[in-house]
């Protein structure tokens, strides 16, 4: 399909979706003891200043719908999330849980790895993020991410109050991803016996000045053994640890995370370690407009054998963006970024519409 036709079809889809949304007096589908949410998005990406031998396209158009449902009966809860997009159809989360006491819950199934905070704050919901895309270090596995964002197994989470402040905790144990066809492949709920998966375990501990408030300061660690015959190695041991802060004082909101990553290749003496960090300040001008920026940087990454497996990883990025909220629960976002991978420097412009039905 030519670019003009693609742009026109995107425009009409956006127009009809907006009219449909505008005609509805309420959002989301409420089912007895549960909820059903639909989160669609349309996105246009333009890359400039690419090297002549670059693998990246000049422009790209993405679309997808994230389906989410939850059901609760007494202490039992079910939660499911499936993403249907241009590049994939996947069950992203499929979990059941039992509440223990007032504030703790044990989950079984496939869930998002409690690594840092972003991954369990926004999940796949583009609408909920101020920005269009996640930081590169926590990109999902099928979008070039090299950290395990999904685990299949057990998750225990909870919190307790102390003088109106809160201490929260999450512990995860289960099957991590394997390295196949140049990317990480998480445990698949539809084909649980497929592929080769090994252990992944994580903890996340955080302090909330106001219990259940948005501001949190935390630390985390994740250890994963990645079967990686596809990379010419037997297994890769990956250890990620770090600190994060999520600070809200309206109209300001800041989210930032520090990552220390260490890898060992079991069948050789190869090993490596590097540091990555990002910080994203957001300024809510009013209920309609939000300005945001983000800086991502990677240190000591030269010749890292694990990073060499992911040549398109964006090591450094400076990004600025604007978000416009319109109608009810619709958002238009425009981002401009300067990016550096291991091979090239380029500029990118992203434009996205996202919504919640």
């Amino acid at each position: 399909m030519g670019n003009k036709k693609l742009i026109a079809s995107n425009f009409y889809t956006l127009l009809f979706a907006s009219l449909f949304i505008y005609s509805k007096s309420s959002y989301c589908f409420e089912i007895p003891n549960g909820e059903f949410i639909v989160l669609p998005y349309l996105e246009a990406i333009y890359n400039t200043d690419l090297d002549s031998n670059s693998n990246l396209p000049d422009d790209e158009y993405l679309y997808g719908i994230d389906f989410f449902s939850t059901f609760e009966k007494g202490r039992f809860r079910f939660l499911g999330e499936a993403l249907v997009s241009k590049h994939e159809q996947e069950i992203e989360r499929l979990q059941i849980s039992w509440a223990i006491g007032n504030y703790d819950r044990i989950w079984i199934g496939r869930f998002h790895n409690p690594i840092g905070f972003w991954n369990t704050l926004y999940h796949h919901g583009d609408y909920f993020e101020a920005s269009i895309r996640r930081p590169a270090i926590i990109e999902f596995e099928d979008e070039g991410g090299f950290l395990p964002m999904h685990i299949g197994g057990l998750l225990y989470e909870g919190s307790y109050e102390r003088n109106n402040s809160g201490i929260g905790y999450r512990f995860a144990l289960g099957a991590g991803p394997e390295f196949e066809d140049g990317e990480l492949e998480p445990w698949d709920t539809i084909h649980p016996g497929s592929g080769e998966h090994d252990i992944s375990t994580a903890f996340n501990l955080y302090y909330e000045p106001v219990w259940y408030g948005e501001t949190k300061y935390g630390l985390y660690a994740n250890y994963t053994v990645i079967p990686a015959e596809d990379s010419g190695h037997d297994e890769i041991e990956l250890l990620v640890s770090g600190l994060y802060a999520n600070w809200l004082s309206e109209p300001w909101y800041v989210i930032g995370t520090f990552f220390y990553t260490h890898t060992d290749f079991n069948d050789s003496s190869d090993h490596g370690s590097f540091i990555n960090m990002y910080i994203q300040p957001e300024y809510m001008v009013d209920d309609t407009w939000t300005l945001y920026g983000r800086i991502e940087t990677t240190l000591s990454e030269d010749n890292d054998p694990y990073l060499a497996l992911f040549p398109e990883f964006i090591e450094d990025r400076v990004l600025g963006g604007i978000r416009f909220d319109f109608l009810r629960q619709n958002a238009l976002k425009l981002e401009i970024s300067g990016n550096r991978t291991n091979n090239e420097d380029f500029f990118r412009i992203n434009l996205q519409w996202s919504a919640v039905f």
Binding site: C28, E30, G34, I37, F68, L79, T120, W211, D287, Q329
Partner: protein, 154 residues
């Protein structure tokens, strides 16, 4: 020129009188936490109430307390958001929708008809909501378990 002073004093008194009349025109009203008379929940502080509506789980015995949103009256809706939740309607609805997506929490049911709201309180002993104090006196089968706000409506 000496009359200027008297005119200023008279104007000052006039505006004071107008202001006093305005104050007297607005009756003092109270918003209270309410549940069914048969409910085992006997008290809920303002802090607990706010947490409940922001998605923090509150249990009495083995039963989780379910908040119901009262949108039956524009004044009570405005005061609930401004004086208790401290958020705009848009931000509040985004916040509770985000809780659904993050934790699988249920959003509180919303009622724009006060009779339906009262019926739900009577039917489900695990539910709570907020009403004007004088409304509680009018209906049977419900009780007040705490004061949320007292003042003059604008």
């Amino acid at each position: 020129m000496k009359y200027d002073r008297y005119i200023k004093i008279l104007l000052f008194c006039f505006f004071c009188l107008i202001s006093l009349c305005q104050l007297n025109a607005q009756p003092i009203r109270t918003i209270v936490v309410v549940n069914g008379s048969n409910s085992p929940i006997t008290s809920l502080s303002q802090t607990e109430f706010r947490r409940l509506y922001l998605g923090v789980p509150v249990r009495v015995g083995n039963q989780r307390v379910k908040p119901l949103i009262n949108y039956s009256d524009a004044d009570i809706e405005k005061l609930f958001l401004q004086k208790i939740i401290f958020m705009s309607k848009k931000k509040y609805e985004q916040k509770i929708l985000s809780n659904v997506y993050r934790f699988g929490e249920m959003r509180p049911d919303k009622y724009s008809d006060v009779d339906l709201l009262i019926n739900e309180l009577k039917r489900s002993p695990d539910t709570v909501t907020y009403l004007w104090q004088d409304q509680v006196d009018k209906y049977e089968g419900i009780k007040s378990i705490g004061i949320l706000w007292t003042g003059q409506t604008e």
